[in-house]
Symmetry: C2
Subunit: 377 residues, 2 copies
């Protein structure tokens, strides 16, 4: 059971909790538990006191496994949800917490889960639930060097997955087959898994979340591939668009425009710039070319343990208004929005670290519009 | 845009809504929207009136795609979350719904999402939110013949995935590699995707949710593989355990015991039996052999559009108390719980349709404890 980096993170967490007047965090989101304790899994919880003590509750089957992976002061195994509720109650009692504010993950807990963790047999009556999402978002936003190294490793795997995906775009291939090639390559290169793999072709390149279907790629289709491998618990995010056979002039023009807008945005990245300024750069370039009505989705978001996290995500992208300037060691995906035209859409996205003096792009797969398939026959 | 089976399902939905006094459903869960309209996707909603009218809200990028896939009376494209809130308000206004009860998905909606769909600019003030989960669970529990055919197709894909997984358990293989082999095979056999793929080896066969890691399989390890391919929107569920090299006597005995308990449970399946009776059969066999303290998880659950659905899931497995006898055409996964011993666990799970006279098992991969890898060298 490693003490670092968890004690350092818990100390920062304590300071934020004090600042917000939150006495205890009751977490069930795997990504947050992973960050603060070294293990995050389903059907488990972490209770974190304001002075940085950690009580974990996990299925009784998992106590030994978690004990080998996580940093904690106290661990309880439970048999079922009733047992989980009682374990939470015992943790509150053990730490002598009978009043105060408990930070819960309002952007993660369903109504049903909220009902469970705040059940009268779990939470003391005078402990008031509040939203603790902001604390975890802020904690996780600026990455430690070891986190950046893991994201870098994930970015290399993402490049390998993209190469395999692009090579799989060939006559007769379906979106599902392209996704399969990418996922196999990512695992062969060291991913333990991946968040959603998007592969969309033809008119489906317009849609917001193009999960792969058994649609066959056809000549002149654009094909958009968006990958999110996980390596040692950390993700990268890459999107590339290619064309099956010769692109039309309109396709090439739109693609070059988007790429130029994305690159102009990356060029502005450095500590001190705001998310709003970056968004205005990306959107501004596209709007100036007459595509103001053809944009969808937040153009930039953070990533790390999750493939979409602060700055933005957790809850709703458009309700944030991230005003604070970015600091060094925030990691961003730049190019998350698509330029959609109706018949098709285009997109290029890269994983980039903000540095004091500028930035470093971690994903490196070529960005030129690749001509795949039919052309080569 | 197909009318059936959606009009028939909406008619049943209307009857259930009337019975519960629910005036309108406001859905955001893809599985529920897929069932009632033919399309379910992220960042979208479906508003269903008590007389079976359907209003969809989707990203503006997706209007054309959804229009080709879904049954609806009205569709709105929105640009962002503010647009989504306004679209919901317009739908309430269009249908003249200013009072009454709105059924929401309390087992799906996070606090943050709930805040959005019940935002004062979305939901009329006098429309009261209530939990509509039970209606959707009941609707989806008994499958139509065409749904069973899709689950059957998914079961064949699951068998193919399991064959590939078992063949991948060989000297030097990691859990991730076994998962990769299974997922590639499932896609090659027609899956458009899959729910979580679990591969756990050695001591990890104890844990409740064994997502694959880069752990290498070692001699005498048990390896547990649990697959959930999706074919035409429907899932199957299969789990098998194999052994790397010669099993110990204890491993073989535990495995044979679990398999016998699972088969005894399947043998009892027919219209009229209750979930409780089935659980008692499975647990009873294991308890009688002295393993009462070695069980974890609900032993049986429904499946269909989701890999875990009613009977049970939606919310919390242990809080349901499914009392009603099962009817024909409910589809179950039997063998979901594991028998864990400490050093390792075993499990066998199959997808089974309840029929009037008995049952039909859809997954067919061999159930004997397979000896893989080192033995063959």
């Amino acid at each position: 059971m490693r003490v670092e980096p968890y004690q350092g993170r818990l100390a920062k967490c304590s300071a934020l909790m004090k600042g917000e007047g939150i006495d205890v965090l009751l977490l069930t989101k795997p990504a947050n538990m992973f960050y603060l304790t070294g293990d995050g899994r389903l059907c488990a919880y972490a209770l974190i006191t304001q002075d940085g003590q950690v009580a974990l509750g996990v299925p009784s089957t998992d106590v030994e496994d978690v004990s080998g992976l996580a940093h904690f002061d106290r661990i309880t195994g439970f048999e079922d949800e009733v047992g989980m509720i009682h374990a939470i109650a015992h943790d509150f009692e053990h730490f002598g917490i009978a009043t105060g504010k408990a930070g819960l993950e309002y952007s993660f807990l369903t109504q049903a889960m909220l009902g469970m963790v705040t059940h009268p047999h779990a939470k003391p009556q005078d402990v008031v639930p509040v939203d603790g999402t902001a604390i975890l978002s802020e904690l996780r936003m600026v990455k430690e060097p070891q986190e950046i190294e893991r994201i870098r490793a994930a970015a290399h795997v993402a490049d390998a997955g993209m190469k395999a995906a692009m090579e799989a775009v060939d006559e007769g291939a379906t979106e599902v087959q392209v996704a399969a090639a990418a996922e196999l390559a990512m695992r062969e290169h060291g991913a333990e898994g991946f968040w959603r793999t998007y592969v969309a072709s033809g008119p489906r390149t317009n849609i917001a979340h193009g999960l792969p279907t058994r649609r066959r790629v056809m000549r002149h289709d654009l094909v958009m591939v968006d990958l999110h491998p996980i390596v040692d618990g950390y993700s990268a995010d890459i999107c590339r668009t290619c064309v099956a056979g010769e692109p039309t002039d309109a396709q090439r023009t739109a693609y070059e425009l988007f790429l130029q807008a994305q690159q102009a945005t990356i060029a502005r990245l450095r500590a001190g710039v705001t998310m709003q300024e970056l968004e205005e750069t990306l959107h501004g370039n596209l709007k100036a070319a007459g595509h103001g009505g053809h944009l969808f989705g937040p153009p930039i978001h953070g990533l790390g343990i999750e493939f979409e996290e602060a700055p933005l995500p957790a809850g709703h992208a458009f309700f944030h208004g991230e005003k604070a300037p970015l600091t060094a060691n925030v990691v961003l995906a730049v190019g998350n929005c698509r330029l959609y035209t109706g018949p098709w859409g285009v997109r290029v996205e890269d994983t980039v670290v903000v540095t004091r003096e500028g930035h470093e792009t971690l994903t490196g797969y070529p960005r030129s519009l690749q001509v795949r398939g039919w052309m080569h026959r």
